[in-house]
Subunit: 505 residues, 2 copies
């Protein structure tokens, strides 16, 4: 945490109480929201954001200076000021798993006061504030008298994009980060490489993308691209956790790194195809160590996702060197032991790794992705003392006809058999996953939004206040129109219209 | 048909036969395509389209002059010429159900010759020609020696957009027409009004959109908008068939036209809600006559779609005046007779109308939309001598995860029990329907393309040559990349990439 003293941003409003109008709330729903029918006029000419006198962050705080500018344009699109250059000074840290995102917002006559412990909390409060402002039919801006006490239910509220099965242009990723901030997501899980392509341009091993990307120039993320993503995310209070999935899902790695993958055998001779990373040779570990050293240097987050899912053992089994190694290590014929040997040091891994249960450090976070039995897995893994992330019910690349956001909304991440104090608190959050088999920049946005908003509310808000999808529907409809107004190509929930439609251009 | 003499366009090519390369074909597959491995160089500087000496269409033909310009930019995007204004003179007709769309294309050394009976056939040939040109890795353009004899399997190859459940901005409709022409669709079925909104701005009854549209200014189609759509379609050889669905699906009509809808009753008193159009009063018929007179004036096509589907009889039944009328007419309690009385004079109607079987003129086209039993319906309706359009298996608003285009591709519109000479030829074509419950401009394009291309090939090409979806897959993948290159936001079929990705902007 950067700030020990509370950050406070005072928002000065010109107030004219006029007449009563019911307005809808904030998505995701704040923990406490008291709203009165008294509404106050806002004048874009006289409105300003200012730092509180006792605030530890003052002008020059990169995160909040930029956020003030951003939210001013969102709130008053007709009054966008000219370009103001924000100088980076102070507030230069990154959000992390311990960041306090709580905030209090008090809107009364003449002013609004936003109090938070950290700049990250202030960002969440600014988002809520921007959703409270509305226009009447004459274009005048209003905000109702409001008291909000708010904090996230879970510290980890992630969204996964897959840039290996299809390449996503930088702009599509940045736009997704914008929309994530609107829904108060705070982790971008970048599934950056996989079997089909290796678009990450490594400093240490440039051949990985030179030979493993779909195209070495048009379909890669340069170091500068990666830095832009990380900074764009930081300014919105979003962590970037890269995933370098191994030892499976590494076909594209093999193209630029000879002798990394296990040669598969047909009988006594190599078949010409390759399996997972070869875990029996020193060169593999040296390569992985160098690559991860670079990754940990480039990506500031303390977490790295190391995958470990869906390892096919057939190729390992076919290879005589692997079999010899297994014997030497005393693994017998149990290839799960070989994988757990390989996966020894990690941070987040997919649930598969737990199934091989030896040697997983207690602080490894397990991510649950197998859909059928996720409650049982939650129970079993937290019982073993592991922190878990829930993703299985939020694989929203799986589409179906109609309002499938209701299924996402019905998910209850802590509804499993287990002891509250010991087990349920080990659920640190969840992740919406948009796998890339059928998704690229042509359909990413409408498939993500507003469908991902359902999980965003489940992960942020009080479950008891937000289990009824019918009550959520009109709020989500309104929020979807707001996303459109902000330029996010969010698809409709059902028949109807928005004041600001997407123009199809 | 405008042209009695054949239209011919000679395409002069600079030819340099270099080396052999296999290229893929044209989507939808031409009836006959013979391609040699001999490839010819094309020079954008020296390439030109010219009219054949014996062509009935010459410079000044609006349709082809514009098409030459359009296809030049498509074929050579790096060499797009400055804006050339095309003067409208000759070729000013509209495509219709009898238009001959056949063409022959012969590409040999030095020139390509395109022969067709009509300008509409010439448009289809230009599309095929544009798909045959390709670039090598150095950017040089090539086309292989090719002979194509081509004609559509069905005369009616439609696509339905629904602009009532969600408003689609003009630009989204025009873009859809572009993509339709690329796939050789030739009918835009404009389901322009329905229960939720009435965006058609009528000259005769302006209150219909003033009160029935989502918004009287931002969510309407003016007369000028409609004319732009019709002209944009005409230039691409596409007919525009508007649907004014009644007597059901008319809730929005009632807002601007008092006394049109049937007041529903609860016991002896009106309940305040309204049912279908009231078919028992003269004012209804006078109104419909005036409205349709306008519609037939505004839309040049000889067909109008009059809907007639999903009429709920409960409201009619509740209304004492309707019951009295039924008695007077001797309909007893059979409300289907009341609907068939109302639907007497029509052109295309949904299949429901056939179920009331009295008084349908023999030349009425029936459109089949009920999915479960469409083969049986095809058999039954053609046996009764009606021409039919198949839409049921092509409701592609219904999405599912994965490659659902394969289902569309598997449809066999003439595979039903019936006599070939008498019944099967009564299948005049089919329609892809994109209903609007969950679709607006945010997700229209990626849901339509390339999924609709499967039906496009089924409706154009020889079924025996195109039933295998696995063989079609690489061709469709290539065509999808071509759509991207032309600016159509077509979603991916599976893992992979295109040379020209959608940039996400």
């Amino acid at each position: 945490t950067i700030f020990s003293a509370p950050v406070r941003a005072c928002l000065l409003l010109v107030v004219v109480s006029v007449w009563v109008q019911q307005v809808d709330g904030v998505w995701p729903l704040p923990q406490q929201l008291d709203q009165s029918a008294d509404r106050n006029s806002l004048s874009p000419q006289r409105f300003s954001f200012t730092y509180g006198r006792d605030s530890a962050a003052q002008t020059g705080c990169s995160v909040l200076d930029a956020a003030f500018k951003r939210y001013f344009s969102i709130i008053f699109p007709d009054f966008t000021k000219g370009s103001v250059s924000v100088k980076t000074r102070g507030c230069d840290g990154y959000p992390d798993e311990d960041s306090d995102e709580s905030y209090n917002l008090s809107v009364s006559e003449g002013q609004a006061v936003l109090r938070s412990v950290t700049v990250w909390g202030a960002l969440r409060g600014l988002e809520s504030f921007s959703q409270l402002v509305y226009q009447d039919d004459y274009g005048s801006y209003f905000i109702n008298k409001t008291e909000i006490v708010d904090f996230p239910r879970f510290a980890f509220r992630g969204l996964l994009l897959d840039t290996s099965r299809h390449y996503l242009p930088l702009h599509a990723i940045l736009k997704t980060l914008d929309a994530m901030a609107y829904s108060k997501f705070n982790v971008f899980h970048w599934h950056i490489v996989d079997d089909p392509s290796f678009p990450y341009q490594s400093r240490t091993f440039p051949d990985l993308s030179n030979k493993g990307a779909f195209h070495p120039f048009t379909h890669v993320y340069t170091q500068s691209d990666v830095m832009r993503v990380i900074e764009h995310a930081r300014m919105r209070g979003i962590r970037v956790i890269p995933e370098f999935d191994s030892p499976g899902h590494t076909q594209s790695w093999g193209k630029g790194q000879p002798n990394l993958l296990t040669p598969c055998y047909k009988g006594d001779v190599p078949s010409g195809s390759f399996g997972p990373v070869d875990p029996t040779v020193d060169t593999t570990y040296k390569f992985m160590e160098s690559l991860l050293k670079e990754v940990k240097f480039v990506f500031p987050d303390s977490y790295v996702h190391l995958g470990g899912d869906e390892v096919s053992f057939a190729c390992w089994q076919s290879n005589p060197n692997v079999r010899t190694f297994m014997e030497k290590m005393g693994f017998g014929k149990d290839f799960t032991k070989l994988e757990s040997f390989y996966m020894e040091r990690t941070s987040i891994v997919w649930q598969d790794v737990f199934d091989y249960h030896e040697r997983i450090p207690q602080d490894t976070v397990l991510e649950i992705w197998k859909g059928e039995t996720y409650q049982a897995e939650l129970s079993r893994m937290t019982k073993a003392g592991h922190r878990v992330l829930l993703s299985a019910p939020w694989y929203i690349n799986h589409i179906s006809y109609g309002q499938d956001w209701r299924n996402s909304y019905a998910v209850q991440p802590q509804n499993f058999s287990g002891v509250w104090s010991k087990q349920k608190k080990l659920v640190i959050g969840g992740e919406v996953a948009m796998w890339g088999e059928y998704v690229d920049a042509t359909n990413l946005n409408p498939r993500l939004w507003p469908r991902a908003c359902a999980a965003a509310e489940r992960l942020w808000s009080d479950e008891e206040k937000t289990l009824n999808a019918d009550l959520a529907f009109p709020r989500l409809e309104k929020f979807r129109c707001e996303l459109l107004r902000r330029g996010i190509q969010a698809e409709p929930l059902f028949v109807g219209h928005c004041k600001h439609e997407y123009d199809g251009l």
